[in-house]
């Protein structure tokens, strides 16, 4: 872990709103090493998608990245790159796939042309060669009968196939990092498993690192090497998959894990985290989870907890953990 592939440090994103700027992402730091898969987990509205878009510098207007944060990728600060330089990174060094395969493809162009565009934008190669590459890619992502799919329009493909096309597009230039924003949320359960397997295979085969955004611990369990849990615009716990799934330290992570249906708990009432996610930008004071936390005590509403390491690879932001670790 001397120099990670991607290192996000102190990233804050704000949107103008009533009474000034609302920070939807607040001082987020995370890193992804070459070849590993980091899952960024959280409920909707916690800012995980915004974090992903910020890495691509595709934050929707009028949102903006606040000065002070850094996004180091392959040793360069993405936030200080010129627009053309950033464009050369998008799609070539970092690929991205989205939640909605149904609407993420251009409806009036064939899918083959759309994948080919990703190649032509970054590589100056003859059309025939690019075409061949697309066929290869279609084979790689498991699209049967690539020749006839090449000339198909998006509406002629199923959701799973569309997501495969999008993955092919994102992988077209063999990027070092693939950002997958809830890639399976809109898909059926059976197809979900296939797509996850594909992502795992691709990562193993090509050595591409994956930043996987999800709200589903089932997905985390299947593909992640490390996990970062986000709540209310901040990362509250980070660690390896085993550490996080077997010994979660933050009450929020514990709550999330308890609310997953398990086979052995059949017949018991499923636990849930009480209360609702606060509105983006309208976060509670102190520890932002204190309004829903079953263990909240005196300092929680007042003081913001600091990141406390519990092992070299595991850290949590919680007053309880602070007390336990400190002598």
């Amino acid at each position: 872990m001397s120099s990670p592939l991607l290192a996000v440090e102190g990233l804050s994103i704000s949107f103008p709103g009533e009474g000034g700027h609302m920070r939807v992402v607040d001082r987020v730091s995370l890193s992804v090493a070459a070849g590993e898969t980091l899952a960024l987990v959280g409920e909707s509205g916690c800012g995980k998608s915004m974090t992903a878009l910020a890495i691509m510098r595709l934050i929707p207007k009028p949102g903006r990245i606040e000065p002070g944060g850094r996004i180091q990728f392959e040793g360069r600060d993405l936030l200080s790159l010129s627009v053309p330089d950033m464009r050369a990174i998008r799609g070539a060094r970092i690929g991205m796939i989205f939640q909605e395969p149904m609407t993420s493809l251009n409806p009036v162009t064939t899918v083959g042309d759309q994948v080919m565009e990703a190649i032509e934008l970054h590589a100056d190669i003859p059309r025939e060669e690019a075409r061949g590459r697309v066929m290869e890619l279609f084979g790689l992502v498991g699209i049967p009968d690539p020749k006839s799919r090449f000339v198909a329009y998006p509406h002629q493909l199923s959701g799973g196939l569309k997501q495969r096309v999008l993955i092919a597009m994102a992988m077209a230039m063999r990027p070092r990092l693939l950002i997958a924003d809830e890639p399976t949320t809109a898909l059926d359960a059976t197809i979900r498993a296939q797509i996850l397997e594909l992502l795992r295979d691709l990562s193993a085969k090509t050595g591409t690192a994956v930043l996987l955004i999800t709200h589903d611990f089932g997905v985390v369990n299947e593909v992640a090497d490390r996990v970062a849990v986000m709540y209310a615009g901040q990362i509250v716990e980070q660690g390896t998959r085993v550490e996080l799934l077997s010994r979660p330290r933050h009450p929020y992570t514990q709550g999330l894990l308890r609310s997953i249906p398990k086979a052995e708990a059949r017949g018991h009432r499923l636990e849930e985290i009480k209360g609702t996610v606060p509105r983006p930008g309208h976060w509670p004071s102190g520890c932002r989870f204190h309004t829903r936390c079953p263990f909240a005590f005196a300092p929680c509403p007042i003081e913001e907890p600091v990141r406390t390491p519990v092992s070299p690879t595991h850290a949590a932001c919680c007053h309880l953990v602070e007390r336990e670790v400190q002598p």
Binding site: L53, M56, R57, L58, I59, P60, K61, V83
Partner: protein, 339 residues
């Protein structure tokens, strides 16, 4: 006739008060109204002034015989008439703004320096005529829409909600009416019905209802499939109640925006009717039409045209601005994309 106008004014005021009180109770309307006022105070102010002047020009009464003189006896006069006294406050013919002598001939005026925008061919004060036009403009746009909206809602909502035969019939009627280019249909209707305020408003109404109806039908179709309507149905709520409680409140904002947009279209199309000689008496369109040839005189006579067009432009612009702001507030559709 003047008491009909008075009663309509009274009804409109009562309706406005009722609508205002309803809106004040409802959170959605109250918040949107406050936001609208915060964003577009000037345009709202302009509309308020226009409404006020139109109101002053809509309330009229006949003086008792003892107080009337030869020029006013037996005629209902509005408040604007009583302020300007057009019977005496006029000249022989054209005079420039604030002039003290007539435009042609140079005879001294009866009211030197008193006509802020001069007088027209017949010596009438242009300010007075412009102010009178406000009532006509609001009548064209407002009254027509107010008559048309309930009818269009009735057809549109029932067609969208009940579907099948009713929908087929309404849809066919809409297709037929929409097939005839609206200006031509309007002209044909006025030619057939004859000229006059009521006729023109009826003609404008017949051509205008299709638009409202289509929007009401489309939205109702969408809402009918919405979960909360399905839930209400599953609970056995009666159709009439569902329409009143769930459908109408949810298309009201669209109706208002469409109202604003059709208002400007109506007011603007009246100028075309005026040019064709089938417009409303005393409208700005007529003033503009009459002023057509005045520009070719030397020195040019511009005040008649200026008075009417500035008043028309300000009204249409204000309504357009408000309609735009309303659409933004109610349907922000935040544009999500980056750079």
């Amino acid at each position: 006739m003047h008491w009909v106008s008075n009663i309509i004014v009274l009804l409109l005021i009562l309706g406005a008060i009722y609508a205002g009180r309803y809106a004040a109770r409802d959170r959605f309307w109250r918040e949107n109204a406050i936001e609208l006022w915060r964003r577009r105070p000037v345009a709202i102010g302009v509309i308020a002034v226009y409404l006020f002047i139109a109101l002053l020009d809509s309330i009229s009464w006949v003086d008792p015989a003892s107080e009337a003189n030869a020029l006013t006896s037996g005629r209902a006069r509005t408040i604007i008439d009583r302020i300007f006294r057009p019977e005496t406050f006029k000249e022989a013919s054209y005079s420039a703004p604030l002039a003290s002598v007539a435009f042609y001939g140079g005879q001294p005026l009866l009211h030197p320096g008193a006509h802020a925008l001069g007088t027209d061919l017949l010596g009438r004060d242009v300010v007075y005529r412009t102010l009178k036009g406000m009532r006509v403009a609001l009548l064209i746009g407002g009254l027509t829409s107010l008559v048309v909206i309930p009818i269009a809602l009735l057809f549109g909502v029932t067609a969208g909600y009940f579907g099948r035969r009713i929908d087929d019939a309404v849809f066919f009627a809409m297709t037929v009416l929409a097939s005839v280019p609206s200006l031509l249909l309007l002209i044909a209707l006025i030619m057939v019905l004859g000229k006059g305020t009521v006729q023109v408003c009826v003609a404008l109404g017949v051509t205008g209802w299709v638009h409202f109806c289509r929007i009401a039908r489309g939205e109702t179709l969408k809402l009918r499939e919405a979960d909360f309507v399905a839930a209400a149905r599953a609970l056995g709520v009666r159709d009439g109640t569902i329409i009143r409680r769930h459908i109408l409140p949810n298309i009201a904002h669209l109706v208002i925006i469409t109202f604003a947009l059709s208002f400007t279209a109506l007011v603007l199309s009246e100028t075309i009717l005026s040019y064709l000689g089938i417009g409303l008496d005393g409208s700005w369109g007529q003033m503009i039409d009459q002023a057509r040839n005045e520009l070719s005189r030397t020195p040019i006579i511009w005040w008649n045209l200026a008075g009417a067009s500035v008043a028309l432009f300000t009204l249409v612009l204000s309504v357009n601005v408000i309609a735009d702001a309303m659409r933004d507030i109610i349907d922000p559709r935040t544009r999500r994309e980056g750079r």
